[in-house]
Amino acid sequence: MAIIERPSTPALAGSGAPAVVTPSQAYGVLKRPVSTTGWRSWVFTVDHKKLGIMYGVVAMFFFLVGGVEALLIRLQLAGPEGTVLSAGLYNEMFTMHATTMVFLFVMPMGAAFANYFIPLQIGARDVAFPRINAFGFWCFLVGGIFLNTSWFLGGAADGGWFMYQPNANALFSPSHGVDFWGLGLQITGIASLTGAVNLITTILNMRAPGMTLMKMPIFTWMSLVTQFLLLFAMPVITVALFLLMFQREFGATFFDVSAGADPLLWQHLFWIFGHPEVYIIVLPGFGIASEVLPVFSRKPLFGYRFVVFSGAAIGFVGWGVWAHHMFASGLGPVSVAVFSMATMLIAIPTGVKIVNWVLTMWGGKIWFTTAMLFIVGMIAQFTIGGLSGVTHAVAPSDTQQTDTYYIIAHFHYTIFGGAVMALFAGFYYWWPKMFGKLLSERLGKWNFWLMMIGVNLTFGPMHIIGLQGQPRRMMNWTEARAGEGFFNLGFWNRVASFGSLLITIGVILFLVNVWNTHKKSSTTPKAPLDPWDARSLEWITASPPKEHNFDAIPTVHALDEFFHRKYEVDHDTGEVRKIASAEEVLAAEEAKADKHIHLPSPSYWPIILAVSLPIMGYGVIFNRLLIAVGGVILLLAMFGWALEPSVADDSDYDPPVDGGGTSKELANIG
């Protein structure tokens, strides 16, 4: 049993009675929260695992919000001249659908997995800056809520998620929606930026002994690339959003053509952020795929180095292709040609990944769990999305396809078919690790097939709809231009709307699955320690992991460390022999348990600091006085934070209770 070290208390020094201390119930300025149970243990936590779970829960909530928005859009387009939504509401709907799904679901869900699993995968006890981590989460939450309150305060943003200027100027978009959008994204942007700094530092500095970069689990690698992309992409969108805010709120003219501005400035700034963003979305999914495939194929990842380098290459080249979103914007032919070539270039590392995934399965012993099914489906769909991507890297061809449903088909195949399916695989694969319970495989397979068929029925027909010339962002389509015969728009629009229902049922089944697993938590059996015969470090600890992750920091000797502790490979014959069970491996580690473990203490400054931001946001929009209020809270919180040591001391606990009947034991965790 490991002891989490807390500064010595009189009780410990005194009699031989067990040390019993209570967290302070008061909220004095310096009485910091130290509870390990109850709601306070969540709200004030700095534990990367709790934050990871909260990221996941909130992102899932926004997934449902974005999903409802998507369903309304498909409902509107199910027939000609749809009347479910008005033109204005339809524009708000597709703007917020994209914004929600990108910024409030896929990105934070990637952050959820990164937060939870990076420290576990590299054998660390927490991230480098736990309080900053908590601050990041709260920024994301308050930013997301702030963004969505616009629905009730005069209408959401209606300029499309790309918010092209000058259409998003106050003159053309007079509601406060765009203001909410810009400020909300600034706030969630802080979450991404602090998260990036934090996770990069964690990965580069806190790996377990023996874990060289080339022995690092692949999910951590892909997350590392993602975080670097975030690190350099977020400031660019920050600049753009500030210019937008100054324009809308303070009368600047950055995008006002009559003042001599060039609207293409916005497009460049947006897409310099926007294209790396695409890889920010998809690389964590690549990471999950590259974790799940080897486990269920019972084979190491084929060409680990190639997968790592191709990930890094995608990260680099991703910066040189932004203008392929602007082939029709009127750039000169030279830039179009250059960006066209660069875009084709990026297909190569992406292709490398697909090839490696297929070759990982090749010659394996494939176990079709739900997680594995999701990954196989993801590879197939990502292949289709990648190939349709090549067709519009061909710039002249893109001028026929861009801004049509063909593009929608393309990026939903990569984002939904690719990234989101991988995230679902992550749920099924890591659920037993996170919660000690297995999700039902039977429901899981229903979930998979419904989503797989649903995605293809929804987005497959959009290839046809797009090539038949239906532009995107249109509130309706008309029979007059729908055509006849096999490829008529009417039929395929209906199919797409039907497919979206199947996806919905699939997602609901997932929620039911979660509900079933946890509602009867006493009766559902505990998951085995190593249900999947996994390979990487996060499985060499209890499920769910203890607060301090590892009793002893493991020493790493190989890629797939856990596998090599369980199996012995005969180098001459290639034969694989089991030498230890997961329980034995864990027991061996626990025997070496560290006696003293320092863990950072909870803090309430992160949430206070985060809450000050939307207050300032509302201030910018409605009443400048609120900016001052938020600013004061912000300053106070910053000073409070800076003056607070990272570990609580005696003064933060109530005096120990002798023989303590009702109080909780704090010092012993294990």
């Binding site: 032919p333 061809s397 055509g483 290639g574 694989v576």
Partner: protein, 395 residues
């Protein structure tokens, strides 16, 4: 599987006959160049897709867990990896070279035979033909909207810009799309092999009525085009005194002419002085423009080409005409029998109710009292009858 069907369906989508904005049925040299480039790319992509999907299918069936022993723990074969990296690189080089040359071909402006200025605004297109020797000769500038009339078999160069937000000009059968950006002029080649009518649509999201910003390109053979030019330059003919149309002229002058120009329209003061009626949309509309209605009935559409001025039968006759008959049929314009009075009447009665626009008083508060789109004018049915009678003579 399903993905496979979707991919192959995408490749086959070109076979459909009747979707007017089909991107796989080029009707002009520029679109043909794009098509010649894109179908092999789709084909190769399709083949690669089928191979990869087949490989996945093969692997998951062949190597599923049938109780075989733990597989060899192989970490990969660098030679195979490199080969499989170089292969797609070669394919892409093969795609890249023709791509680059097509990009430059489509940007060429040296063979221009005719120039037309195209201006986008919320939510309609204006075309103005500068006086030029090109296009077979245009003596005086022509301003029109909705339908872009071009001489067939002629290299037309469009000069695109916008008066408010970014729009995008796209006639799929004739060329790819090009954004129209305020403050900038972009050019786009246009050429139609045959006389005929080609559908298009604004494809850059431009606000509330983006879905209702359509356009059509009309190609006429050079002789017919000259007839069309002549029609456009015909002087104004006042309605016969005392006719319904004459009352319409007065109603038009009182209600519509603030924004809509009709060249040659004039008003006579009680003392007999005649002053030309000049529209001043700058004062009332954010974009500072409204369609010129001088020869409204020579075109077949109105309100951003969202509705037809022709009844369905007459419209189908024009759209289905053979290239030889098309010119004559189009040049007939809109006759009284063919007029689609239903939509036109609704439009004049209450335009914002028919097409979402920023035209109510509350919405005007955000834009210095100017409207975006056409406001409801509060006309009574008699006035509407008179205005329609008047407009019917604008041919």
């Amino acid at each position: 599987m399903l993905g496979l069907t979707a991919a192959s369906a995408a490749v086959l989508a070109g076979c459909a006959k009747d979707a007017p904005q089909d991107t796989w049925q080029p009707k002009g040299e520029n679109a043909q160049k794009i098509h010649d480039l894109q179908w092999p790319v789709f084909l190769v992509a399709g083949i690669v897709g089928v191979i990869v999907l087949a490989a996945i299918g093969f692997v998951v069936i062949r190597y599923r867990d049938k109780g075989q022993p733990m597989p060899e723990q192989s970490h990969g074969k660098p030679a195979l990896e490199i080969a499989l990296t170089i292969l797609p690189a070669l394919i892409l080089v093969g795609v890249g070279i023709p791509t680059a040359s097509t990009i430059f071909d489509l940007a060429d402006e040296s063979d221009t035979e005719c120039i037309i200025n195209v201006t986008g605004q919320q939510w309609w297109w204006e075309y103005d033909y500068p006086a030029q020797d090109g296009c077979g000769g245009i003596a005086e500038p022509i301003v029109t909207s909705g339908q872009l009339v071009i001489p067939a078999n002629t290299n037309v160069l469009l000069r695109l810009t916008s008066r408010d937000v970014i729009h995008s000009f796209w006639i799929p059968a004739l060329n790819g799309k090009k954004d129209t950006v305020p403050g900038r002029v972009h050019t786009l080649r246009m050429q139609a092999d045959q006389p005929g009518i080609y559908a298009g649509q604004c494809t850059e999201f431009c606000g509330l009525s983006h879905a209702n910003m359509k356009m059509e390109a009309v190609a006429l053979n050079p002789d017919d085009f000259q007839t069309w030019v002549g029609n456009q330059l015909e002087p104004y003919v006042s309605p016969e005194a005392g006719s319904q149309a004459a009352l319409g002229e007065a109603a038009f002058t009182a209600n519509c002419a603030y924004c809509h120009q009709v060249n040659g329209l004039s008003s006579t003061a009680p003392d007999g002085t005649v002053t030309p009626v000049l529209a001043n949309p700058d004062q009332f509309v954010v974009s500072g423009a409204a369609p010129n209605l001088t020869h409204l009935m020579t075109r077949n559409t109105f309100a951003g080409a969202t509705w037809d001025l022709l009844t369905d039968e007459c419209r189908d006759r024009v759209w289905n005409a053979s290239p030889e008959e098309f010119g004559a049929l189009y040049l007939q314009g809109v006759t009284a029998e063919c007029l689609n009075a239903v939509d036109l009447r609704e439009w004049i009665r209450n335009a914002p109710a028919k097409k979402p626009m920023y035209a109510s008083d509350a919405q005007k508060a955000n834009s210095d009292g100017k409207v975006r789109g056409m406001p409801a004018l509060g006309l009574n049915e008699t006035q509407i009858d008179q205005i329609i009678a008047y407009l019917l003579e604008r041919n």
